[in-house]
């Protein structure tokens, strides 16, 4: 750990306190973990709309003539599959094929990309990218200059009056009277947008979204929402110990379309096959799985909680290929007691068709 430094506060800090948030240190920031409670916030997102302050997320901006060429070699997914005005989920990999980070890249133009990265990995990403940065690309860490809100839920697109925005599309728009970059992205499994704006606009935007009926939601609900739909979390499910293929992220690695850092290791692992896999599971006992619990016959839980939508213990963890088929019975060591679980298809939560 670096020496103790003051925690950063987002432009919405005073509003969080006024709304009764419980504030926790998170990746160098003081962030709201919950307001009314994780469960009501979670259910508000599933049923209507919730708004999250995600201003802690890192933003690295790449500009210059060599931007696309550099990004295509540095990032695992193929940017040629999207055009300007679209965003893409992708990975920064080490030579080992293990992720330095998972991130969303926004393609503004061929000489302009924005990477939205995990707060806890911003410095590592910056260092990794700086190492290979060519002379015709500049990188700017804008993490403290930009605020970011996520509006998520079935009513979200209506609230921002952008019902036509395609998944992973983004646009500049005025929302609640302030200018923002609005992207149809999120981390909850619901329709929704993420809004990037100048810090002085974050307050009015937050106020406007609450006035329109969105529920303020904290990092606690963000975690239970993403786990129900099996989105991996860096530091839990993703690390420098596990490759992108083991993590189930082969679909964002364009192994057959281009070359990029880590591709060789992944191709060779793909050829060998039979590697460990990040699986989802549900408890068939009442117990709640937690990160770090051993899985029997082999493996370890990387994320676990009690699902607010399903009412049962759910989790993800790495298991050998032989245990990775949905339906496989496994056991979780819950503080010395054995609890039964079943490997399940991702996502664990699927919205009922109405």
């Amino acid at each position: 750990m670096p020496e103790e430094t003051a925690l950063r506060r987002t432009p919405l800090h005073d509003r969080h306190l006024a709304a009764g948030a419980r504030i926790v240190p998170f990746a160098g920031w003081e962030m709201p973990v919950q307001y009314e409670g994780i469960i009501p916030e979670h259910l508000a997102v599933r049923s209507h709309a919730g708004v999250f302050d995600v201003s802690h997320m890192g933003q690295l901006e790449l500009r210059g003539a060599g931007t696309m060429r550099f990004a295509q070699a540095a990032l695992s997914n193929d940017l040629d599959r999207i055009g300007p005005g679209h965003a893409q989920y992708t990975l920064l990999l080490e030579d080992t094929g293990c992720p330095v980070d998972d991130l969303i890249v926004y393609r503004f133009a061929d000489d302009h990309l924005l990477l939205v990265v995990n707060a806890s990995r911003t410095d590592a990403d910056h260092a990794w990218l700086a190492e290979g940065l060519p002379s015709d690309v500049t990188m700017d860490d804008r993490s403290t200059e930009l605020a970011m809100l996520a509006l998520q839920g079935p009513a979200a697109l209506t609230l921002v009056e952008l019902p036509e925005l395609a998944p992973f599309g983004f646009t500049r728009a005025e929302v609640c009277g302030v200018p923002a970059i609005v992207a149809r992205t999120g981390y909850t499994g619901e329709p929704g947008v993420e809004l990037i704006c100048e810090p002085e606009h974050a307050g009015p935007l937050w106020d406007g979204l609450l006035a329109a009926g969105a529920t303020p939601c904290g990092l606690g609900a963000r975690d239970t929402l993403r786990l129900e739909v099996c989105y991996p979390l860096y530091g839990n499910d993703l690390s420098l110990e596990r490759t992108a293929l083991e993590a189930g992220l082969g679909w964002v690695c364009a192994l057959d379309a281009k070359d990029f850092v880590g591709a060789a290791a992944l191709r060779s692992q793909r050829e060998r096959g039979s590697h460990d896999r990040l699986v989802a599971f549900r408890m068939t006992d009442r117990n709640i799985p937690r990160q770090g619990m051993p899985i029997s016959p082999s493996g370890e839980v990387t994320s676990g909680t009690k699902s607010p939508s399903l009412g049962i213990g759910i989790g993800m963890g790495y298991v050998p290929a032989t245990s990775a088929m949905p339906g496989t019975q496994i056991e979780i060591d819950v503080r010395g007691r054995t609890a039964a679980a079943e490997v399940a298809k991702k996502p664990l939560y699927v919205k009922e068709k109405t």
Binding site: G37, R286, K306
Partner: protein, 130 residues
């Protein structure tokens, strides 16, 4: 959620468990401070009725969405009843920690242990100093 209160008729330990002593039977639960720190309770796993528990030993677990909390017995004795009504309604522990959110009842093996626990004023001072 209820307000921060620490009733005068209860006794408290430093692990934020309370005991309500009535004759040789005591009811245990967790304090307002404990439920507030833990967040919404979603799972309760008590020591089963008939088993002996000792003061300062474990008598079960409570879990919230985010965290696990071990319950520490304020007094010793035999578990005579567990609050099975919490099954599926675990958040009652948050809503009514001193009433319907009680956890277990214990037949005391050494009622004199009560004198080692904090009264409400002492516990309030203990919480204020945290």
């Amino acid at each position: 959620m209820s307000d921060a209160t620490y009733p005068a008729d209860l006794r408290y330990n430093e692990a934020h468990d309370w005991a309500r002593v009535e004759g040789d039977v005591a009811t245990f639960g967790i304090t307002w401070y404990a439920q507030d720190s833990l967040g919404e309770v979603v799972y309760f796993s008590p020591t089963t009725a008939g088993e002996e528990i000792s003061k300062d030993g474990e008598y079960g677990e409570l879990e919230s969405t985010k965290a696990v909390s071990t319950l520490i017995a304020p007094l010793s004795g035999e578990v005579v009843e567990t609050n099975d009504a919490l099954d599926g309604n675990e958040s009652t522990v948050n809503d009514d920690p001193y009433g319907a959110g009680w956890l277990i009842k214990v037949r005391l093996s050494d009622p004199s242990e009560v004198d080692t626990l904090m009264d409400a004023d002492a516990y309030q001072a203990f919480v204020d100093a945290l």
